[in-house]
Symmetry: C7
């Protein structure tokens, strides 16, 4: 078990204050520091950047993201580090 993740929301809780990669429907990708979330998976991110082909397309600063459009959320520190 990784860091005591027993329920899905535990992972979001462990990721607060850390950078996360958020993949939205329509293949939109967002990177930012997770400040807050709720049970609808609505998120608040800081230093938010819209990414395209691994490059920053636009800085959108502090952002409220509706959970409804999210496909997955991954702590950036774990991305690209696993086999």
């Amino acid at each position: 078990m990784v860091n005591g993740v027993e329920r899905p929301l535990d992972l979001l809780n462990n990721s607060k204050g850390k950078e996360v990669l958020v993949h939205l429907k329509g293949d939109k990708q967002i990177v930012g520091t997770l400040l807050a979330f709720d049970i609808h998976i609505n998120l608040v991110l800081d230093n938010t950047k819209e990414m395209k082909d691994n490059e920053v397309k636009r800085n959108i600063g502090l952002t409220f993201l509706r959970g409804d459009t999210i496909i997955f959320i991954s702590p950036a520190s774990t991305t690209l580090k696993k086999e």
Copy 2:
């Protein structure tokens, strides 16, 4: 932590009376002053403008926006100011 944002709706509360950028499904972008919101993320904006390629496409004044079509909401003051 930024301005005590503990729950996602705190960011919307802090943004009342300020200009926000709202990104809708179908890549529609709206800018306006946030007057009110509810738990469904329905918004009321004033001085609302529909944007296209960073230019004002249409002024739609006072507007009720259904939360259902919203992807993200970002206080305009934080956009383009971060690293």
Copy 3:
């Protein structure tokens, strides 16, 4: 604050009896006099007109509009009058 709009539905309440512009999913636009609404944002409009490129495409008289397909609702009097 504009006319005491504290919750999103206040704007709809203030707009009763007035002409509103309703933008639907699929870029359909409707103009009519707001007679009634409920918490699902179902609306009843009178003198309803389907618009296309700012011209009346069809008169549909008294109409029940399901909230589910609505993107935004704007009192016509405020449209095009702001900055």
Copy 4:
């Protein structure tokens, strides 16, 4: 106020036994006599006709229509009679 329409469902109630035009998602149009409706806006129509370009495409008689696919419902008597 038109015929005491205070809540959206009042219009449907006033339209029972009358011909209504129903516009569905995907630009499908249905005309029929409204026999019954419920809070999900499920309808039963009689003498139902699928329309295309103002012509009858198919007669489908007595029909149960799921509310979920409806965009708007308009009493046929009011359509085309207003300015």
Copy 5:
């Protein structure tokens, strides 16, 4: 009033044991004998046939149909018999 249809589900109740035409999203058409339904408009049909251009495309026998994809349901006996 037709056969005492006061609520939409009354029509489905009256159609039990009879052949119905079911029109699904994506213009799929199904014909079969209605055996059962619930409040989600989930149906069980017997002798179910998938239709295309008024011809039988495939026999699928006894079938559970999820209500979510249904646009309308019409008793086959009433189809094509009305004005």
Copy 6:
């Protein structure tokens, strides 16, 4: 009445341990032995096969299928046996 199917879920209950054909949105077809289901029409199938043009495209063994994407479910034994 066929095998006492009074409510739609009765058909799923009668089909436990038997092979079923599941038609998903996007015209995906799945065949497998029904092991379990719940009220959301989530299914567990065993010996699951993804089909394409009546040929096995991929074996996916034991599988949890979300009800949300299902259009219809038909016991394989009844398919192709009816008039």
Copy 7:
């Protein structure tokens, strides 16, 4: 009956700590070790990989997957082993 799967979620419970194949809407495929799930079928996977044509397209490490976009989930050990 396979391993006492009486309700759909039993299969997810039996798959904890094991590799699963997750097929998402839009034909996206994800492989990873199932750490946690909830009744909305939100998942946490570890060692998550986005697959394309049976090859690893991207490693995304520890990941929160929203249930809403999932079509099916299959324990990897059973995939390709059944006739």
